[in-house]
Symmetry: C2
Subunit: 300 residues, 2 copies
């Protein structure tokens, strides 16, 4: 097992960080800012499962694995601290190409890749663990939605699924395909929402329907949607059940306050798509019931 | 991608930890103890590469992946804080069995498994990222060995390689096989060495010869060994080039001080096996030169 010893951007650590020591058994990071907590997650991308390498390149696989983990940090409202990655490759696959995508994402989102390891395997796999920090007690969680809260998303949905559809149809460029190849975590949106006292959030990695259902179960609430904002060129079905857009679900009792905080931060206005329902069984779209499984519409 | 939401032992966090929040996009851990740094690493175990599943079971695969990462913490002298794991399994493999081994190791070494994810793939893979803490500036590194320092190992070597040999020969029980199936990280030894002012260390995951060569390169020094302590039942070759014993290499200018610290902590006495050499090209065993590649003896 070779060690990865890469530092993409010391600047990403910010002034609070002290020593960064690399190329050892483990990376040593600076002390956390005072009164801050550590946030920790991991996400794996498997070639052929999470990415079709006939349509995406190895650097895309690395980028997407980094973004999946960074998006988990965004969903908690955390500031990124550092990534480690384990890269597994079959003999015909160059791990450097995957690493290049990881390093690009690490630089783009100011979260240095500080270590990891390289192994052989029969299938390309990239697993990225991410650490972040946030002020103690301020994490946005899945289990804190309350009846009457407004449900927001940080942007229109379905671009990644539409991009995959276009790639499969033979197209090779354009915004939708870029959204599929190189999704972006909503780190600033997550931090601004947390600072605006949002305490319930989740990233949309598996589709709005499935992920909102998970959030509702965690909070023992239902939900009613009155809008499914589809990205330009995406179908409503892609917006509802396509994954990997990495927009955030933000649940807030103070819709006006959240809008003002986003405007003050210069961020695109969040989109209000529905309301939290007191009945934990409620799964409504424009008054009609739909099933959680695949989120096909049903007459309620 | 299902999320892993397991807490193996809150006690592992120690009194310094605050809130632990699980089952979300990421785990939220307590603030670090004051003046402490964060240590971060990851290690992957791939079925068929790092473990032969004809000889080991899936729980062993999980245990060994956790230990590989915990051993990296031990080598830095860090206290374990938390693990996250990504588990990838083919359709015929039950991820719960791998998780069971991960959870057993997490409990055995007081480092809670706080999250991760489950994915499908063509080959079983377990990737474990570990976080730990240590007092700022005290990390044991690979690049700080100085000529004249004593080279110690925390125990006799080759047990894991000997156990694998016995397993391949059809045996199924005994201490050597247990050493291969269920290696143990030397967390206490690492912490005691760090407290005794050792500043250079590394874990032996790929064999004494290969790992000591890496440490010497990182420190721009050579080494001279006068002993290869083999575990009872292991050959000298297994002790020199067998991996996965996870004993620690400890490099100290104060051999007596290190021995006293281990005795005071009730630990088995560390074994002095050689000395750091001022010539970066020196690779000597009992006065004879040997090549770094595979560590076969040569007349010097």
């Amino acid at each position: 097992m070779d060690r990865i010893g890469v530092l993409t951007t010391a600047a990403g650590f910010g002034p609070q960080a002290g020593e960064i020591h690399l190329g050892d058994d483990a990376a040593v990071l600076g002390p956390l800012p005072e009164g801050h907590q550590l946030v920790l997650c991991s996400d794996a991308a498997v070639a052929g499962v999470h990415a079709d390498l006939d349509l995406l390149d190895l650097a895309d696989l690395g980028w997407r694995a980094a973004v999946a983990s960074l998006s988990d940090l965004a969903a908690m409202g955390a500031h990124p601290l550092a990534l480690v990655a384990s890269v597994i490759t079959p003999p015909d696959t160059n791990p450097e190409l995957i690493l290049a995508g990881l390093v690009e994402a690490a630089a783009a989102f100011s979260c240095p890749l500080v270590g990891g390891d390289l192994s052989a395997g029969s299938q390309a796999v990239v697993d990225v663990a991410a650490t972040g920090t946030l002020p103690a007690g301020s994490a946005m969680r899945r289990d804190t939605a309350r009846p009457g809260d407004s449900i927001f998303v940080t942007g229109p949905l379905g671009a990644s699924a539409a991009g995959l559809r276009l790639l499969r149809g033979g197209e090779r460029g354009g915004e939708l395909i870029e959204a599929h190849r190189r999704p972006r975590p909503r780190l600033r949106e997550g931090a601004v929402a947390r600072e605006a006292f949002v305490r319930c959030a989740m990233d949309i990695s598996d589709g709005l329907g499935l992920d909102l259902d998970r959030l509702a179960r965690a909070s023992t609430v239902g939900f009613e949607l009155f809008d499914i904002p589809a990205a330009l060129g995406a179908t409503e079905d892609e917006a509802l059940s396509g994954g990997e857009d990495y927009e955030l679900l933000l649940i807030s009792p103070d819709a006006g306050g959240l809008r003002r905080a986003f405007a003050a931060a210069g961020l695109r206005a969040p989109l209000e798509i529905g309301r939290v329902h007191g009945d934990p069984a409620a799964r409504l779209l424009r008054g009609a019931r739909f099933t959680p499984d695949g989120y096909r519409h049903e007459v309620g």
